[in-house]
Symmetry: C2
Subunit: 311 residues, 2 copies
């Protein structure tokens, strides 16, 4: 088994450059010069494609197993299809139908579980025993994930625009640590501030205590991409010294972030993607007058959820 | 009065390049290889900025008068502000509040009228007598409008992608004739098909009869940017020989176009912007298997209207 991974198209050949645009109306409302770097038009609609493709193309295994109720599953299904590989994505049976459908549309196999009976990681472990030749991928805690997401950081570091600060969503820490690594790789010292839901503030608590602190359970923040109970270990090593700070964003500000991106910048963002603008709304004095680049992590959201947020 | 217009930054210096991305999920649904060229991230959120800036920067007058209930007003307010000029935009008193607010946010003066008492063109004529030194701008029938919109056509003609056909919304014809002119200017022969609301099909009837045919009154299509009762005379001269065809799009297909752009391409489009995808939905056999570039003209839409369309 196993392919020569050198024959695969490299990440830089298949990834779409992030789309950066200035948003003067929204910036004026927020008291900053605002740029938006949006991954909503990335393949599969979120930054997760960067990590998923990097993992799937760099490991020799032909089959990948992962648990994901959201963007990583779609991204992995698309990446393995592009590479002539296959994947099984473990998803809760009550996942949004559109998300299950998206994984299947990209050719991924969905393994539905009842989370009351078995946890996602238990089911992944079962599958790993069933398919011993498969690679078990983490959506956020793997050096290959950081390396994939670093491609976004190096793009931002090479941007013709000068940002005083970059604000990016924080869940398991894969995106923020990737951006920090990527910026560093191109010699860019722009500070990165992470925007984390106040309801799921394990990252902020970890920074305060100087060690990884986990939430007791998955917090029910509207930012479903940031419900991860704790930072990944590999990410933590980068974040603990590399992060410029964390902004803890209340639920109302996340919602307002999504709404203002829609009304003042014509952008469809998913709730997790609204965290950056939410941080600027929650802590205006921290950012006022600065040139800020807000990273919008993805745009995959149920129409009904979205309609309720903008109405 | 009058400035040296040569001192103004040129259109190419201030306009944002249209954002082109491939939309494989939506393309697969429509049976085509689909690219989307979206003007929703253009300054002021629609292609109208191209024409408005070109007019405002090329005429010597310091003040511009125009009637617009929508995107041209915002675009003109933004353009005149950038140029140190001023404008008065005649708008119906029952225009959406967000549209009036947007013109004012860009520093434009709004002149509200009760359309039962006076028509827009009557009021513009009144203002022209009051301000004899002002330039009266047409939103769609002026060689400077075509020239401004041609910048989009030349961008598409120079795109690294090869399109079999470009599909663009049709109202007064300023966008379609501009795209045709721009493509021609860079030696690109890709045919342009116009997507027009069936409810306001004066363009299709004009092509069939070989002369400009006007609708009796403003048709109440949901595509409010395409309610113009007839094609502009300057535009007609280009369209009658240069257009590759017209697709007449039923209201339901326009709505479905907006919805599918949202669910399958993460794009916020205004109803008029949904006409292109609407044409592919209404006439699948006309486009099947082709590489199609759909032009999305703008993204400015009331949240409530949008929420109703995607739900």
């Amino acid at each position: 088994m196993g392919k020569d991974t050198r024959a695969n198209p490299s990440l830089s050949e298949v990834v779409r450059s992030t789309f950066v645009f200035e948003a003067p109306r929204l910036g004026s409302r927020l008291g900053v010069t605002l740029f938006v770097a949006t991954e909503t038009f990335q393949r599969t609609g979120s930054f997760k494609f960067r990590a998923a493709y990097n993992v799937a193309s760099r490991v020799p295994q032909d089959q990948i197993l992962a648990a994901s109720s959201g963007n990583f599953g779609q991204a992995l299904a698309c990446a393995t299809k592009m590479l002539g590989k296959s994947c099984i994505v473990v998803m809760p049976a009550n996942s949004a139908k559109v998300k299950i459908a998206a994984v299947e549309e990209y050719g991924g196999k969905v393994d539905l579980i009842h989370t009351g009976r078995i946890t996602r990681s238990q089911r992944v472990a079962e599958l790993a025993r069933e398919y011993p030749d498969a690679y078990v991928a983490s959506a956020y805690d793997d050096p290959l994930v950081i390396e994939g997401n670093a491609s976004l950081g190096s793009e931002l570091g090479r941007s013709p625009h000068r940002f005083d600060v970059i604000v990016a969503p924080l869940g398991g820490g894969g995106l923020a640590s990737g951006i920090i690594s990527g910026l560093k790789s191109v010699g860019c010292a722009t500070p990165v501030i992470a925007a984390e839901p106040l309801l799921a503030n394990d990252g902020a608590r970890s920074m305060r205590e100087g060690r990884i602190v986990a939430n007791d359970r998955e917090a029910q923040t509207i930012a479903d991409g940031a419900r991860t109970p704790s930072l990944g270990k590999h990410n933590w090593e980068i974040l603990r010294t590399g992060l410029g700070g964390i902004s803890e964003v209340p639920e109302d500000s996340i919602r307002d972030g999504v709404r203002l991106l829609f009304t003042h910048a014509n952008l469809k963002a998913e709730p997790t993607g609204g965290l950056g603008v939410g941080a600027l709304l929650a802590e205006p004095d921290r950012f006022r007058g600065k040139t800020v680049c807000v990273v919008v992590s993805g745009g995959n959201v149920d129409p009904a959820t979205f309609a309720a947020m903008i109405s």
